[in-house]
Amino acid sequence: MLKKYDGIISGGVLFAIALFILLASLNITTGADLSVGSDFMPKVISSLLLICSVILIFQGISKSKIYKEDIEEKEDNAKRELDYVGVILSLLSLFAYMLIFVSLGFFISTILYLFVQIIIFTPKEKRKLLKTAIISVVISLVIYVVFVHGFRLMLPAGILG
């Protein structure tokens, strides 16, 4: 379904974004007497984007009319079986990881994230909780040592510091 309407959807979203930027750029202070001020590029870029999005919508409309989901494609899609739940879970775990990164500190938050993310990726039958936990701790330790002591990068200590 997405492939049929992708032109219209993407065109529509881009149109909204372009409009948003165009309207936001009306408020930009132009700066001292310049014919090409700070609002020039935003306006030009968003206007061009607006035009592109309209073209895309038209292209999308004509494409959706002649689009015939042939049998080959249906088979192909079924074979690929995209697991969007996995994507959502990964997104959420990344989000959570970033939330606790500073408060819990790099070390603990990384262990938690690695554990969760690896489990998300591992199919149910192959999941080994203890092994994954150990791997998570080891990787976090290695990264910590290499980056903080080796490269002298500063990472949040969180509750351990």
């Binding site: 936001a24 202070t29 132009t30 895309l56 993310q117 199919p123």
Partner: protein
């Protein structure tokens, strides 16, 4: 003088520094969260106590290793180690998926070496003469070059030129966020001062590649097909004579592109690899094979990005103007030792300059040797199960993103661009125009504003400068070529449908 310079680095300390620098550079280059610029920045304080020639030799090793190392993760993980290897993922990644990781790595390393040596030779022989020419590049010319680079997006976008343009414009829009060039007016920040500096290029790159990889791996998580890695045994040089002959024109052309873009201050390997790739695709007799795993793509990208190294040093050494971000750090190194790079450098510190050239040659050879030695180890990395490898890489990327400015904002930006990249891919947009737009927006706008300021409001110089005209014409040619090709493929598609 060359002999003196060469002899100045032929002591054990210097040689060890070059080797260590190259190895560390390769490591930094191969880790997606770290870049060669960062490696140089972090090592600057270390060079304080060293002799100038030693310190600069170390930094040269870091620079060359850093740019070359990017191809490792680009090929093995489809995540560019540095912005200079973005285009290497386009064909290097598919090659690895087909089980040709070793070959891709080898090709990348060899042509990285060739690109570096080529640019070093030009640097040594022609630097002062080239600088006379590049001084003539003013804002009008830069504007034209940037617009020309943007027109390359037409070919980077698979198929639909409007989608490519839209993707590039979207990338440019994100680059608008923050303080405007020259006037410093805050744009699109909505009062959030974290946005004043705008988005970091590193966040964009990590988000668009590493995070999108995580999402795409999550899509396929039900299928645990471990990547087939045919254990790759090194046969001779790694590239057959036949292949070398086939790639010869590609090699020369990409090296020249890399050199040219490197010479222009402000644009470097990050841009040249994509432009060389798209030019190679456009000039090829079989453009469809690009993106599916052909060595042409890897050759173009890696030759160009390494050629930009020598190119970037030309303005640095002759005019004191950095050719790219890494050379900007190198200026700091020079100043640390009380040397100011510029027109007089060859006269006042001639031996040092030739010492640097010699160090670069040694570093290139070191890069070739070490990367070849490590080849088996690199390919072995692919045998680590992806469901462990990818999250670990993502953590390293996030560490790198956080470490750049020590704030969570850059990390959140990574997630933002990851989501954007994923959605863009879903609706059939390609990400390379986006990145190119993001990188080039600043150059386009700065030079536009400067140019208009110089000419007190008139835009005539933009169209009358001869160099600018050349690039504008090239822009038109490239857009027309892409549009023509697209029309042809659409026509053949229609004819095929009619036949059926």
């Amino acid at each position: 003088m060359f002999l003196e310079g060469f002899l100045s680095i032929l002591n054990p300390t210097c040689m060890i520094l070059i080797m260590v620098g190259t190895i560390v550079g390769i490591v930094f280059g191969s880790l997606p969260g770290l870049t060669s610029t960062m490696a140089i920045a972090l090592s600057l304080p270390l060079t304080f106590t060293m002799e100038p020639v030693q310190g600069l030799s170390l930094l040269m090793g870091l620079y060359i290793g850093g740019i070359s190392g990017g191809l490792i993760s680009a090929i093995l993980l489809k995540i560019p180690g540095t912005p200079s290897s973005i285009a290497t993922t386009f064909d290097g990644g598919p090659m690895a998926e087909k089980g040709e990781a070793g070959k891709a790595l080898n090709v990348g390393v060899i042509y990285s070496f060739i690109g570096t040596i080529f640019s070093i030779v030009i640097l040594i022989t022609l630097a002062p003469r080239i600088s006379i020419f590049t001084v003539k590049f003013g804002p009008y010319e830069y504007f034209a070059v940037a617009i020309f680079s943007l027109s390359m997006v037409g070919s980077l976008a698979s198929g639909n030129i409007v989608k490519g343009l839209a993707s590039a414009l979207l990338g440019m829009s994100f680059a608008l966020v923050g303080a405007a060039p020259i006037t410093s007016a805050l744009r699109l920040t909505f009062g959030n001062h974290q946005l004043d500096k705008g988005f970091d290029m590193l966040s964009v790159m990590i988000g668009l590649f590493a995070i999108v990889e995580i999402f795409e791996a999550a899509e396929r998580r039900k299928k645990t097909k471990t990547g087939e890695t045919s254990s790759y045994t090194l046969k001779g040089i790694g590239v057959s004579l036949k292949e070398f002959k086939e790639q010869f024109i590609n090699m020369i052309r990409s090296a020249l592109i890399g050199l040219g873009i490197g010479i222009l201050p402000g644009i470097g390997g990050g841009t040249s690899n994509m432009i060389a790739y798209s030019v190679a695709q456009n000039s090829s007799k079989e453009p469809e094979k690009f993106g599916k795993g052909c060595i042409d793509g890897v050759v173009a990208s890696e030759t160009a990005n390494n050629a930009s190294i020598g190119g970037a040093l030309i303005p640095l050494l002759t005019l004191g103007i950095p050719g790219d971000t890494a050379t900007a750090m190198l200026i700091g190194a020079f100043m640390l030792h009380g040397i100011s790079p510029g027109p007089m450098l060859f006269k006042t510190h001639g031996v040092l300059v030739y010492g640097i050239f010699a160090a670069m040659i040694i570093a290139s050879i070191a890069m070739l040797i070490f990367m070849r030695l490590g080849m088996k180890g690199f390919v072995k990395i692919l045998s680590i199960p992806r469901h462990i490898l990818l999250p670990a890489i993502v953590v390293m990327c996030i560490v790198g993103a956080y470490g750049a400015n020590n704030r969570m904002f850059d990390v959140w930006a990574v997630l933002l661009f990851g989501v954007i990249g994923y959605l863009l891919k879903k609706v059939g947009f390609s990400m390379s125009p986006f990145i190119l737009g993001f990188i080039l927006e600043n150059i386009v706008e700065t030079n536009l504003v400067r140019g208009v300021q110089y000419s007190s409001g008139s835009i005539t110089p933009f169209i009358t400068s001869p160099i600018a005209i050349i690039f504008f014409v090239l822009t038109v040619i490239s857009i027309l070529t892409v549009a023509y090709k697209e029309m042809k493929t659409n026509k053949t598609k229609l004819e095929v449908i009619k036949v059926i």
